[in-house]
């Protein structure tokens, strides 16, 4: 009965008219992007092969690849490496902190799920700079936390402010919800009975987690990791405030070329290099994502 009715219903549906909003509705934002996004990107590329001029922000237009050549210097390679290592470490830490929370909300909460998620997001409605500045207060070497740590006797002058550790805390703190939300979404989509079957068939909880839960939530985890990793590589404010100038990211160096040192062409070349690095990671992700699709995960 259903088998004969199904196709006929589908056919009548296909004949039915599907309303579509006109394509020109994209025109305003298309024009906006063309002017104020592609325009700046194009002129950035032009500047990267120009030579610095005499006055603020002026350049002599040529095709001069020396900016890129001078990027290939141990100093700058080290900064790029350092930034990527910090972003990778920050992403890993964010996963370690965030995955269990997403798991806890999805697995153990019932009626308070929305509230728990809301409480994750609400802090991010307060000023990002204020929240980062708060860590300056908390981590102050004369502050209460430092006194607490010193009183344990393990160390006497605990001071992680203006170091990689402080920057790491700032990174995890500011990017946590970007990881939790996609991981939570994939945990919610997962069929928990699969985990039950695995344990019923003799898998230890840890093995069931590794072979079932982790594998099924991998797409959400990878998406979250990328959402966190990419902006971390371009981070400017957190190293500036919590690194206290001792801890330089690629973004910091780019910013300095435009505010302090005033070598705009070099800053432009470095910006393009940063885009290249980010693009490489996105490309890897896209390959991964299409593979996932092929295997139907």
């Amino acid at each position: 009965m259903a088998a004969t009715e199904g196709p006929r219903f589908a056919a009548s549906r296909r004949r039915s008219f599907t309303p579509r909003y006109p394509a020109w509705l994209t025109l305003p934002s298309m024009l906006y992007y063309a002017f104020f996004f592609l325009g700046p990107m194009a002129i950035l590329a032009v500047f990267s092969v120009a030579k610095p001029g005499d006055t603020f922000g002026s350049v002599v237009y040529t095709v001069d690849w020396s900016q890129f050549a001078s990027l290939w210097d141990p100093v700058y390679i080290k900064i790029f490496w350092h930034t990527l290592a910090m972003a990778a470490g920050g992403t890993l830490l964010t996963i370690l902190v965030g995955y269990p929370i997403a798991y806890w909300i999805s697995r153990y909460l019932t009626s308070y799920k929305t509230l728990a998620l809301l409480l994750i997001v609400v802090p991010f409605w307060t000023s990002f700079l204020i929240r980062t500045y708060a860590w300056l207060i908390i981590l102050d070497p004369q502050g209460y936390l430092a006194r607490l740590v010193n009183s344990t006797g393990l160390t006497h002058n605990w001071n992680i402010l203006f170091s990689g550790k402080a920057v790491g805390i700032g990174l995890v703190y500011n990017y946590l919800p970007l990881l939790i939300l996609p991981v939570y979404a994939s945990l919610e989509r997962m069929d928990w009975t699969l985990v039950e079957s695995a344990t019923d068939l003799g898998a230890t909880p840890l093995k069931a987690f590794r072979d079932v839960t982790l594998r099924l939530t991998l797409p959400g985890l990878v998406t979250g990791a990328l959402l966190v990793f990419i902006p971390m590589t371009g981070e400017y404010v957190i190293p500036a405030l919590l690194g206290g100038g001792n801890f330089v990211f690629v973004g910091t160096v780019i910013g300095d070329q435009f505010l302090g040192a005033v070598d705009w062409p070099f800053g432009a070349a470095m910006s393009l290099a940063l885009i290249g690095v980010v693009a490489a990671f996105v490309a890897v992700y896209l390959v991964f994502a299409t593979k996932e699709e092929q295997f139907g995960a």
Partner: protein, 283 residues
């Protein structure tokens, strides 16, 4: 059974720690807004004096006003651009959609600092060659903010629109309503939580932005995040905490109000009941 209980306890313990981690900084900022001392690391006594001083400060309130002005205009333009694009994109043919999609994702993936310096170069050159183009100031900040936020609105509204399906619109067309009538009476009411969410998010992103603003402000304009950044680098007083605390209060009231508005709308616009969640960017 016992093992499951232990696991649950472990996870709950971890969750409590993480919530403390999330809220401790905010608590610290609020507590030191009431500190009697100029210092923000020792607690010396209670005062409400910093609130008065924050409101009297010559730079704080004008900067907040500039930020509100930019965020408000940004939110309107980004919401209109993004919603229009999302409506067309959702049911567009793939060949047309993909290039636009790539553009939208690029605006989100290119690091903010890169967009900031590229916009700076662009605005300086545009003003030098075209006298009608504004010089660096709040207008260039606004122009730079809209790029990112239009993309955010596009993604949020499109996700909701695709999820809605086209059944009711088909019915509306079949019953004789035109495209404008259908949009007003069928599409918009159901899309409304996503549009409100997009508008609120783009307001927040703009209001909170430091990098795009700082590089495109020129010498004369200061936004609120720029004031905080400068203060943090050159010596804070609890007055900054006081103003931050007041703004936290305003934000919480706004969140609650939005939640109530969206909840009330649920009955008659057949929203999905996750209005507040959507407004906070949860879906």
């Amino acid at each position: 059974m016992r093992r499951r209980l232990t696991a649950k306890r472990l996870f709950t313990g971890w969750a409590v720690l993480v919530y403390v981690f999330l809220y401790l900084p905010i608590l610290v900022v609020v507590v030191y807004a009431f500190n009697a001392n100029r210092d923000v690391t020792y607690w010396t006594g209670f005062t409400t004096g910093w609130f008065g001083r924050a409101l009297d400060n010559q730079t704080y309130l004008p900067a907040v006003k500039t930020s509100v002005k930019i965020a408000f205009l940004n939110s309107i333009v980004a919401t209109v651009l993004g919603t229009a694009a999302a409506l067309a994109l959702a049911r567009m043919k793939k060949g047309w959609r993909v290039p636009f999609d790539v553009l939208v994702y690029l605006t989100l993936v290119v690091p903010e600092i890169v967009i900031a310096v590229a916009s700076l170069i662009f605005f300086v050159q545009a003003h030098a060659n075209l006298s009608i183009f504004p010089t660096l100031g709040w207008k260039t900040i606004l122009l730079a903010h809209i790029v990112f936020n239009a993309s955010v609105v596009t993604l949020i509204v499109r996700a909701r629109f695709v999820g809605m399906g086209s059944g009711l619109e088909e019915a509306s067309f079949d019953l004789g309503a035109g495209p404008i009538g259908t949009f007003r009476q069928v599409t918009l009411p159901r899309l409304y939580p996503a549009v409100v969410a997009g508008a609120l998010l783009s307001f927040t992103f703009s209001f909170d932005d430091y990098v795009l603003s700082a590089f495109n402000a020129g010498g004369a304009t200061q936004t609120w995040p720029m004031v905080i950044f400068a203060a943090v680098r050159f010596g804070v007083t609890p007055a900054i905490n006081a103003l931050a605390t007041m703004m936290l209060g305003v934000t919480l009231v706004l969140i609650l109000a939005t939640g109530i508005v969206l909840r009330r709308g649920r009955g008659d616009v057949s929203g999905d009941g996750r209005g507040l969640g959507a407004a906070l960017g949860l879906s």
